[in-house]
Each structure stands twice: as structure tokens, then as C-alpha cells.
């Protein structure tokens, strides 16, 4: 009954020694979250505290630190987000129903009246888009999309209608196809891996950028309602 050490020799012993403390940290974080939930009577606070337990889960999974563990981190994060969104929808639906109203979608009270929205929108947007293009990939797409979203919100705050954003939806679809083609090349013709890498990286960059800016389109639809 002797357990063999599965860690290869190139890994520094300090990193290996961090495994057990990280696991116990995750469990302790989870226990703290559970303890605070048990004291909490407000439903909304209980929901927010539940997220702490989810972060404990991410700590435990990340402590393993192999590529297989990464394949558990991403679904874990997605599941966590999906569940917290579903539960908050349930909570809102219940509270609205308690007041006797029938509202399906969540109302968006966007009365933004900040000075930063009128003074520096283009500067911030350009910096965010440029930094996102430098990062490329999913992260860069999220940052550049945030920049475009910020720009859209500022234009809305000044009362200018932004009509061009629908076209971005089509470009987002084409970029997604680039991403898929890149992945296909990885499997079909591995010799062209550099081409595939750049296709995937910039395809997902453009796609996530436009996807995030589409939130701006939806926000504008909400504005029209007011």
C-alpha cells in the first residue's frame, strides 16, 4: 500500500508543498461561508455568501494545478455563474410576485449621470481596445468589449442614437467561424499550427469584443422603452 509520487521531478518542492495548505484553505473558506450562511436570515445575503463557498471550490480545484485540473476549473466557474444567475432570477421573480406585479424581465434602472461619461469616453475606449488587441484571445476580447461598451454607454448618456451596432453582430458570427476553422486546422493539419493559433486567437478576440458590445445594443433597447 505504498503511494507513488505522481509529481514529476522538474516541479519545485515548494510548489508541491503548497498543495495540502491550498486544499485546507479551500475547505476552511467553504466552512466560513457555510457558517455565515447559517447565521444569515436575509435571502439575498445568503445568496451572496453562497458564492464564497463556490470560491472555496475553485481554490481546491486550482490547487491541483495540472491541465486536467484546468478542465475542471472552467466548468466549475461556468456552473457557479449559471447557478448564481438562475437563483438570483428566481429570487427576483419571487419578490416581484410577492408584490402582486407580473414583470418578466428585470428592469434596468440606468440613470447614469457621471462627469466621466462626458469628458473622457474616447480616450478610455481607445486605451481599452488597444490593450485588448495586445492581449488577444478571450481575455483581450473581454477587455476590448468593455471599452466599446463604455463608449456606447457614454454616447447614450449624451443622447446620440448609436445605430451601427447591429452590424457588429454579423461580424461576430464570421469571427466565430474563423475560430472554429482555426480549431479544425489544429486537428486536420497540425503542421499549420501557427496559422491555426492566430486564427483562433484573433477570431475569439473579435467575437468576444463584439459580443460584449452587443450588451450595449441590448442596453439601448432598454433605453428606448423609457
Amino acid at each position: 500500500m505504498t503511494a507513488t509520487v505522481l509529481v514529476p521531478n522538474v516541479v519545485s518542492p515548494v510548489v508541491v508543498g503548497l498543495f495540502l495548505p491550498a486544499v485546507f484553505t479551500g475547505i476552511i473558506v467553504g466552512l466560513i461561508g457555510l457558517l455565515s450562511i447559517s447565521y444569515q436570515k436575509n435571502d439575498l445575503h445568503a445568496l451572496i455568501l453562497t458564492d464564497i463557498v463556490g470560491i472555496g471550490m475553485l481554490i481546491i480545484v486550482a490547487s491541483v494545478g495540472t491541465d486536467l485540473a484546468e478542465s475542471l476549473v472552467l466548468p466549475g466557474l461556468v456552473v457557479e455563474l449559471a447557478e448564481i444567475m438562475a437563483i438570483s432570477e428566481i429570487l427576483m421573480s419571487r419578490e416581484i410576485r410577492k408584490q402582486g406585479k407580473t414583470v418578466d424581465l428585470m428592469p434596468m434602472p440606468l440613470n447614469l449621470d457621471m462627469e466621466v461619461l462626458t469628458t473622457t469616453p474616447i480616450f478610455f475606449a481607445i486605451i481599452l481596445v488597444a490593450y485588448g488587441a495586445f492581449l488577444s484571445g478571450f481575455t483581450g476580447g473581454a477587455i476590448a468589449g468593455g471599452g466599446i461598451l463604455f463608449y456606447v454607454i457614454t454616447r447614450l448618456a449624451r443622447g446620440v442614437p448609436a445605430n451601427i451596432w447591429e452590424g457588429l453582430a454579423g461580424a461576430s458570427g464570421i469571427a466565430w467561424c474563423l475560430w472554429l476553422v482555426g480549431f479544425l486546422i489544429f486537428f486536420v493539419a497540425p503542421d499549420y499550427w501557427l496559422l491555426a493559433l492566430f486564427l483562433s486567437a484573433f477570431g475569439v478576440f473579435i467575437k468576444v469584443t463584439f459580443k460584449a458590445s452587443l450588451v450595449g445594443v441590448m442596453g439601448r433597447e432598454e433605453f428606448k422603452k423609457e
Partner: protein
């Protein structure tokens, strides 16, 4: 211990890259049961329910809103397919994802009934399911850390059992119990099975039962107590 002792002889495997599905009579029976129940749900139309009235000889027909009914039936079919997938997968990672999918879908099934009491139960079940992701993913990560693989056909060849594997298995079982094991309790608490148009919600019971049985098989494979 061999897989074939638990579930009968291995009838065949489907290697999809490093994800290998394997079939034993035990798994195949549960797979067929889940698929058959899902097919029944897909072809049945239970949106109108006939109840006998008390004191007279008349019948009373209770109809349910078509959109709400379609949503619930779709979620029930997804739940059935995920259960069937979890029965034949030979990969702990896939199994974890199927269990979380069943958990999210169960939240949706319970929350589709727009009554305050039912939404209360859905909210509480959602909190439990979110807390359950900590032991579920944490247990899977610890099993991965202690065995070096998440393929059951590889794990069964490891001759020893370490205490970390046992600890991970216990966490994993707690996670499965929190994610799908408590779902029938909350569905029954809200008296969901008596609401019109929802006899197929018994898929919650069926999926919970089959998943627990399969979890016990997986934990026996990992820990090899015999």
C-alpha cells in the same frame, strides 16, 4: 478489483480521444431505462389533466399554459439525456459535468412553476446545489490529484488506495448528494407532482436514483474495498 466484477462483463468501449465510454450490462440497463423514460416524456402530451370531481359524476379538466409547459418538458428531456449520458461515461470529469447539468436543469424545472411557495423551494434548492459544487468539484479534483487521472478504466488498474483518495471520494459523494440527491425532497416539498401538467417531473426522482447508484459504483471502482 475489476470493473467486470461490479457491472458484469464489459460489452464494449467507445474511445473518443482520451474520453472512453464503456458498456457493461449494469450500465446499459440504467442507460436504457433513462432513455426510455425520456422518450416517453418527449412523445407524451400531458398539458391537460382530468380530475374527478368530488360528490358528482363530472370530470374537471385542468389546463396549463402552453409556453410554461413546453419549457418544463424541454428541461425534463435535457435532464433525462444527461442522466443517460452519466450512466455510460467512463470518465469522472464527464460524470461531474453531467451531475452539475442535472442540478441546473432541476433548478429550472422546479422554478418554472410561478407560485411563491414553489419559488421558495426552488431558491433553497438552488442554494444547496451551489454549496454542493464545492464538495463535488473539490472531490473530483482530489481524486485527480491522488490518482493522476480521471479515467475510470485507468483508475481501476491502480493497485493501492490512499487516504486522500478516500477523502476525495467522500467529498464527491457529498457533492452528488447536494447536487441531485436532495432534488426530490425539494420537489416534493413544493408539492410539484400535483400541479397540473407535470407528471413527467418524476424524472427528478429517476435521475436522482440512477445517479446515486452510479456514484456508488464509481466510488467502489476508485476505492476498491473488496
Amino acid at each position: 478489483m475489476d470493473i467486470s466484477i461490479l457491472g458484469g462483463p464489459i460489452l464494449g468501449i467507445i474511445p473518443l480521444g482520451d474520453i472512453v465510454l464503456y458498456f457493461t450490462p449494469f450500465n446499459l440497463f440504467m442507460f436504457a431505462a433513462a432513455l426510455a423514460f425520456t422518450a416517453l416524456i418527449a412523445i407524451s402530451s400531458t398539458e391537460s389533466q382530468v380530475e374527478a370531481e368530488f360528490g358528482t359524476l363530472k370530470n374537471r379538466e385542468v389546463k396549463v399554459d402552453k409556453a410554461e409547459f413546453k419549457l418544463r418538458r424541454f428541461l425534463a428531456i435535457v435532464c433525462g439525456l444527461a442522466t443517460a449520458g452519466a450512466m455510460v461515461t467512463g470518465d469522472l470529469f464527464d460524470f461531474t459535468l453531467f451531475v452539475t447539468l442535472i442540478g441546473i436543469v432541476n433548478i429550472g424545472i422546479v422554478a418554472a412553476v410561478k407560485e411563491i411557495d414553489v419559488l421558495d423551494a426552488a431558491f433553497q434548492y438552488g442554494l444547496i446545489a451551489m454549496i454542493g459544487t464545492l464538495p463535488l468539484f473539490g472531490g473530483a479534483a482530489l481524486i485527480l490529484a491522488s490518482t493522476g487521472t480521471i479515467s475510470l478504466l485507468q483508475i481501476v488498474q491502480i493497485p493501492y488506495t490512499t487516504s486522500l483518495m478516500l477523502f476525495g471520494s467522500i467529498l464527491f459523494f457529498l457533492g452528488v448528494a447536494g447536487e441531485t440527491g436532495v432534488a426530490p425532497f425539494f420537489a416534493t416539498k413544493a408539492e410539484m407532482f400535483r400541479t397540473p401538467g407535470s407528471p413527467f417531473l418524476l424524472i427528478i426522482h429517476l435521475s436522482s436514483l440512477l445517479i446515486i447508484v452510479r456514484t456508488i459504483e464509481i466510488l467502489l471502482i476508485i476505492n476498491k474495498p473488496f
